[in-house]
Amino acid sequence: MQQLEIHNFLIRYFQANECEITENGPGYLTVQLTIELDKELMNRPFYWHYLEKTGGIPNPMKLTFITNPQIAPEHIKGETVHFGSPRLHQIFQSTKKLASYIRLYENHRNGQQQTPLMPWLCMNVKISYQCDRKRDIYKSIGLQLINGQMIEDFHERLQKVQLTPKIPDYSFTLSPLVKPKSGMSRIENYLKAVINEDDHTWAEDARRRWEQDLRLLDHFYEDAEEENESYETEKKALQDQYEPKINISFINGGLFYLTDNAV
């Protein structure tokens, strides 16, 4: 993420959370937090608790972020954020937390014509291959809950569709034939099938490294007569280090009601 991307990301994040950007200059920005976001980011529960007990006037904080110290005016004081700084990481987490689940409708331009909207289940996931090393794969899957059609890069396809949180006039949703719960397991099975077809020499290699170290360990302790505690500890450590695992974790997802040829 380049510094300008971070700058734009922050603006979008705060705007999406209805905070006013009071200053937006070269390499820096100042934002007036809302009460909600102050509670979300500033970690001062005692202040809010005190305020609620005493009925004082809430005074959410104002924050200044420096997104590029090279071009920010010198008199500006604030937190320098960059990719990897704890503050940015916190805002990333908050972004994910605040938008884990969604339901949206296509804001179609069909005027007064009655328009049916098809239900789609969307799941954005991260697949992680993990041993003593790691790599990730991002996937966005959409499943049409009436005919069972499944498509990849669903999130990317949605970018060209106009969406709204309220169902547009003259529109009606079709009830899903596939229940969300079984839709989710269809996607799960699909992802597992995709993973199974992938190349997994990485896991075999990891097991080989594991096996090698295990042999060395046995050799080291072969003179030890009885059960040895540090032997068991080391053995467990090797398992934690090398055992290949695949995790599928969720980024976010939800229900989308779309016109027939939207995606």
């Binding site: 993420m1 990301f9 994040y13 999406a16 959370n17 990719f83 990897g84 704890p86 990333f92 972004t95 994910k96 938008a99 884990s100 689940y101 969604i102 339901r103 949206l104 954005n124 991260k126 291959y129 993990q130 003593d132 090393r133 790691k134 790599r135 991002y138 966005s140 969406l163 949180p165 969300p180 719960k181 989710m184 799960e188 993973i195 199974n196 997994h200 896991a203 490294r209 170290d213 060395l216 360990l217 050799h219 080291f220 302790y221 003179d223 540090s230 500890t233 467990k236 450590a237 934690d240 280090q241 695992k245 695949i246 995790n247 599928i248 969720f250 980024i251 976010n252 997802g253 939800g254």
Partner: protein
């Protein structure tokens, strides 16, 4: 393929719950942002380093990046980092730690370092690597914080020990790991029983010279890598002098150890210029020095060891204040002092009082005015330090004091004062490791320590990575005193000052004959005549020369192999 796939189902349960309750639903803009963030956080490849892209305040050197990559890709995150001094082992360890944290492979980390470096480690990890490391002060820290820095002595004691054993650490880093070379110690046992998934051992002194030490360290990191203890010693002679004796063993060790040498890094080091400045005592100073030297031959002084006479001699070469302070202490500490003892001290004190000026200080002032730039003065004595500060101030030169005992914050503050406001820094100890004074390139050794490593550390404060100018070293020595002997017979002879940091520790570990300081005390304290002293000094320097030659051969051999 039989890799287990874990599917996080917590998301699904909550999702169904929200469908039933008709919300609440997230905001589309945030939803898109979250996906965008996640795409940025994805690690696309098993290989390569992600960490450098996340560290805008740090430009790692090529050998540091290469080391981090090696450790992660070829050593599976278990390694001994044994770079020569000054090449940035801490940076390498930080890079590796950051890389594992970014990849989500490491969360819980234990960092064991010497007590004096705890704060500094925590500070560097926070400021350079944005790793929220905490220095351990309260016992709840072990459980509640993910990245903890502590001294091994604290960690191994109750109640900490048991709490630590209960933690599930992903990565353990041990600085100054060569202290764990003996497997019979409590420290060794403590570390051996820690669960080590990923593990880094950092050592500044080369360990490849003693085979038993190598075995112990490697076995701590990777038990069995060198076989079991009996099998190992059956195969390799316990007294084998060097790793170089056995190619196979060397190869095995190189699988878990990285040692970058300065010469291989291709980094250009600036030169050292050394100037010895002989100084003559004033008659009064000379008289004081002589009175102290005469104590050796006086019978009444038998209660006092040669050591304190020598201390007084060395102090007399520094400042009358230093002598006075020691004399006062001797008088106070002595239980039931005899009349003779008191008289003798009083006599010396009167000699101290008779000294009107300090020849060295005058010379230092002259030199500082001539240099007209930042200067660091090192002295062994607190009393001298205070005197110098006063003396320079009298002459319109601003200075700040510096001591190893200062707290971290005060050290940083003094450094900043020196950089921005003062011309001179007067330091009693080189102990301020990690404090960077590269903006200065002049050192005055007001007096000389008897331990060459200390001297090396002094110079190392300014002659390190980042120093852009040649370094000027001025050595003060009073003529016809112990000081001159040390300088002429030892330091100049072994060309100590011209050496670059790191060569020296190699040389000194090759010498298997105890500390140089002890030898000096013996030579100066026990010699009956000037001639005897000279011969003993000759012996000492030729030992050092021998070690130097051995080292040259080694590096030639190494160069020949590669």
């Amino acid at each position: 393929m039989t890799v287990e796939i874990e599917f996080d189902s917590s998301w699904q349960d909550e999702f169904l719950h929200r469908i039933d309750n008709d919300g609440p639903w997230g905001n589309w803009d945030l939803f898109k942002l979250a996906v965008g963030v996640e795409k940025h956080l994805i690690i696309p490849e098993f290989e390569g380093l992600q960490a450098p892209n996340h560290l805008p305040n740090l430009t790692p050197l090529p050998h540091q990046l290469e080391t981090a990559k090696q450790v992660i890709e070829n050593m599976n995150g278990k390694a001994i980092l044994a770079d020569e001094v000054g090449l940035g082992k801490t940076i390498e360890a930080g890079l590796i730690l950051k890389e594992y944290m970014i990849r989500g492979l490491v969360k819980k980390v234990l960092i064991l370092v010497p007590a004096s470096l705890v704060t500094q480690w925590a500070y560097e990890l926070n400021s350079k690597f944005f790793i929220p490391a905490i220095s351990q002060r309260k016992s709840y820290v072990w459980e509640q914080c993910d990245v903890v820095v502590s001294s091994i002595d604290t960690a191994k004691r109750d109640p900490h020990r048991d709490i630590i054993y209960r933690q599930d650490y992903d990565l353990i880093i041990i600085d100054e790991a060569h202290k764990l070379k003996n497997n019979k110690t409590k420290n060794y046992e403590f570390v051996q029983n820690l669960k080590k998934k990923f593990c880094l051992l950092l050592t500044a002194t080369p360990i490849q010279n003693r085979i038993g030490e190598i075995f112990n360290l490697v076995s701590l990191l990777k038990p069995g890598h060198l076989g079991s203890e009996t099998a190992f010693y059956d195969k390799y002679k316990r007294d084998a002098r060097s790793l170089n004796d056995n190619e196979h063993l060397k190869e095995l060790v190189n699988k878990v150890m990285i040692r970058n040498r300065r010469a291989d890094t291709g980094i250009e080091w600036t030169k050292r210029h050394v100037e010895t400045i002989p100084i003559e005592f004033t008659p009064e100073e000379k008289e004081l020095y002589q009175a102290i030297t005469d104590l050796k031959s006086e019978g009444d002084w038998v209660q006092t060891s040669a050591f304190s006479v020598m201390t007084l001699q060395r102090e007399a070469c520094s400042s009358r204040e230093a002598v006075f302070y020691t004399l006062k202490n001797m008088l106070q500490k002595k239980e039931n002092p005899t009349k003779e003892f008191e008289d003798q001290i009083q006599n010396l004190i009167s000699k101290v009082e008779a000294v009107p000026s300090n020849s060295k200080a005058e010379k230092a002032l002259e030199l500082i005015q001539k240099i007209d730039d930042k200067v660091i003065i090192f002295t062994e004595y607190r009393a001298t330090q205070m005197y110098l500060q006063w003396y320079l101030k009298q002459n319109g030169i601003s200075s700040v004091p510096f001591r190893g005992g200062f707290k971290r914050g005060k050290k940083d503050w003094m450094r900043e004062l020196f950089q921005k406001h003062a011309q001179v820094l007067i330091a009693t100890e080189a102990g301020g490791e990690g404090i960077n004074l590269q903006f200065c390139n002049h050192i005055i050794n007001f007096d000389l320590p008897w331990n060459p490593m200390r001297l090396e550390q002094r110079i190392g404060r300014i002659h390190r990575l980042g120093q852009e100018k040649d370094v000027m070293i001025y050595n003060f020595a009073i003529q016809n005193t112990v000081e001159e002997h040390i300088l002429k017979l030892l330091y100049e002879k072994i060309e100590l000052f011209e050496k670059v940091i790191g060569d020296l520790d190699d040389i000194l570990t090759k010498l298997d004959f105890g500390s140089i300081e002890d030898h000096l005390i013996d030579i100066f304290g026990q010699s009956c005549s000037e001639g005897e002293m000279r011969i003993k000094m000759e012996n000492l320097t030729s030992m050092i020369d021998l070690a130097k030659d051995m080292q040259k051969e080694d590096s030639h051999a190494a160069a020949g192999n590669s």
